[in-house]
Amino acid sequence: MDCVVTGGNVKVLAKAIHSLSRIGDELYLEPQEDGLTLRTVNSSRSAYACFLFAPLFFSRYVNPEGHGFRCKMAIKSVQAVFRSLATLEKTVEKCHIELDADRNRLTFTLHCKHGLLKTHNLSFQDSESLQALFDKDSSTNVLKAQPRVLADTVLNFPPSLDEVTVTVSDERVWFRNHVDQEAEPSKAMLTELCLSSDEFDHFEVRARSSVTFCLKELRGLLVFAESTGLPVSMYFDKPGSPVVLSVTDSVLDGNFVLATLSDESGVQTSDRAGTPAPPADDFMNDELESYLIAMDTSMAAGPSVPAPPAPLAPGRVGSPTATPDPWSPAHSEPGEDLTEEEEEPGRPPNKKFRSLFFGSVYPPGSPLGGHTPSSQKVLASDSEEDG
């Protein structure tokens, strides 16, 4: 393997490696005919990221070893090559990556200003191929936005936030922080943002859906997207199916495949012990729903309700799981917010209502009703024989 990256592409490569480091600790490198792939996976195998750099990304791309060469190395070692990202553009003229097969070393040579040459000889290990199986083109929902839009959105969430829930309807998208069921409700803060479809470059929602995934991993991709200015596409279906975040241009293709929380008790994350399956929900209908809305004027209409949208009040939001929960009115819909704080002694009917609500608000058969639990597994590590 012998390739050269010049000019601004050095920074793009460095940023890609940097964003991969937000997912996993090891970098899997595989030069192929269609380009160089850099992949990583997190320790729990719930997040996978892959960047493919086409031969045109490089000013020289030669792969004399042909197929079969794959290696992995500590991502920190590669990051050390591209330290001081801020000055990379100004100081580095080109980057030469070369395989020294005899010594099992991968050499990164940075040709910098003033004739300075920085050479890093990194040791690597042979590795199996790391490949995730996903088909984003068959996704139910596809959103595409400028990185600035998403970056500004996630800015509203605290850096410590683990998971974010994205809910879509025909015309809107809600981003909400996911509150763990076990968390103390009075201490939880809820943040929710609503974006309309016209903020997106592409908005295709074939089925209303709500998926929860790790925010840190999304931020990892945004780091890359913002610096390159490439729009981010989001492909997703239903809870439990992975969400694919993608950035593409003519010479590179980046995909982050993230697991989402499944909403049913069937296959849960290890935090949640098996909870009872939701009972039949056929006694809920729209009338009751509108009654609920009418009762509490501070509630805002969510994606499930045809009422005109009102500014959302911070409130208790239903968790994605369907267990009976004194605060969660039903399925995870932002519309049914009932704030604990706003409760007064004169409002016991609310509480009663809420305790009645479990299971899906929608009649079975709607996209969000009657889900079958789906597997959270997103990855298949394709272990080939070493050749």
Binding site: S77, R83, R105, L117, K118, H120
Partner: protein, 279 residues
């Protein structure tokens, strides 16, 4: 001025009096060499030299010439004492580190001689602080026996390029290897860390290279932990001279410009960790 009136009567007793309108001109340099608690002060009519040593392998010297000071009076040929450098720096910066333009701490440093404390009069905005720091018997600084006549290789670089390299050095490497040669790679810094090795090469015709005088290929290794101590001095400097002698001893000399544009020098001597061998 409060400072001058106070010392009028004591002046006769002091064997060393050094005054600065801006204490930063000395505190900045001393901060750069504070890798150990104790410093040996040596004053001569030429000025002040402050020495800090580490494990008998590394020595740093800061030179502040007499003409940097607004007043520099010395009554003996040589005055020496040892003080706790950390304490001294705390006193010099006692008014805080604010950089409000036009406001500076004035310093008057006085010493009565052997057995007496080092007295500092510091004034800022009309407020005067007097500090008395105990002195100790000065240790004899190590003589690295590094003389110009024995220098094998010498380069002078603009600090900017070295600063970047030093900030990126792989700290998992126990040593920093310096190669100096009349041939390729000319001047090279190498590290050997957990993930592999790294080399920083400066060609002799680089515009960062102000002087290149290498006569013989030399490769020497120095303990990373020792050389890392020189990073602060490098950060302050605008130029650095790197010299090695026939034994592989390293001399780093940093040219530092203070706030008033005056020049001071900081120099480091370091013994090699092991002889890799000269070609």
């Amino acid at each position: 001025m409060p400072l001058s009136t106070q010392s009028q009567t004591d002046d006769a007793q002091y064997i060393l009096v050094a005054s600065l309108d801006n204490a930063r001109n000395i505190s900045n340099i001393l901060k750069a060499i504070t890798f150990k608690d104790h410093a040996i002060f040596s004053a001569t009519p030429n000025g002040l030299k402050v020495t800090v040593e580490d494990s008998k392998c590394l020595q740093a010297n800061a030179f502040i010439q007499a003409d940097i000071f607004q007043e520099f009076t010395i009554k003996e040929d040589s005055v020496g004492f040892q003080v706790n450098l950390t304490v001294l720096l705390d006193c010099l910066t006692i008014f805080g580190g604010s950089t409000v333009p036009g406001v500076s701490t004035a310093l008057r440093m006085c010493y009565m001689g052997y057995g007496y404390p080092l007295t500092l009069f510091l004034e800022e905005g009309g407020v005067v602080t007097v500090c008395k720091i105990n002195t100790q018997e000065p240790e004899e600084p190590i003589d690295f026996d590094f003389c110009s006549s024995n220098v094998t290789n010498k380069v002078i670089l603009q600090s900017e390029s070295l600063k970047e390299a030093f900030s990126e050095l792989d700290m998992t490497s126990e040593v920093l290897q310096i190669t100096m040669s009349p041939n390729q790679p000319y001047f090279r810094l190498s590290t050997f860390g957990n993930s592999g090795n790294a080399h920083y090469d400066y060609p002799k015709d680089s515009d960062m290279m102000e002087l290149f005088q290498c006569t013989k290929t030399q490769i020497n290794r120095y303990k990373m932990s020792l050389l890392k101590s020189s990073t602060k001095a490098l950060a302050l400097s605008c130029k650095v001279s790197v010299r090695t002698d026939s034994r592989g001893f390293l001399s780093l000399q940093y040219l530092v410009r203070n706030n008033d544009g005056q020049i001071c020098f900081v120099e480091y001597y370091c013994c090699p960790d092991e002889e890799v061998g000269d070609d």
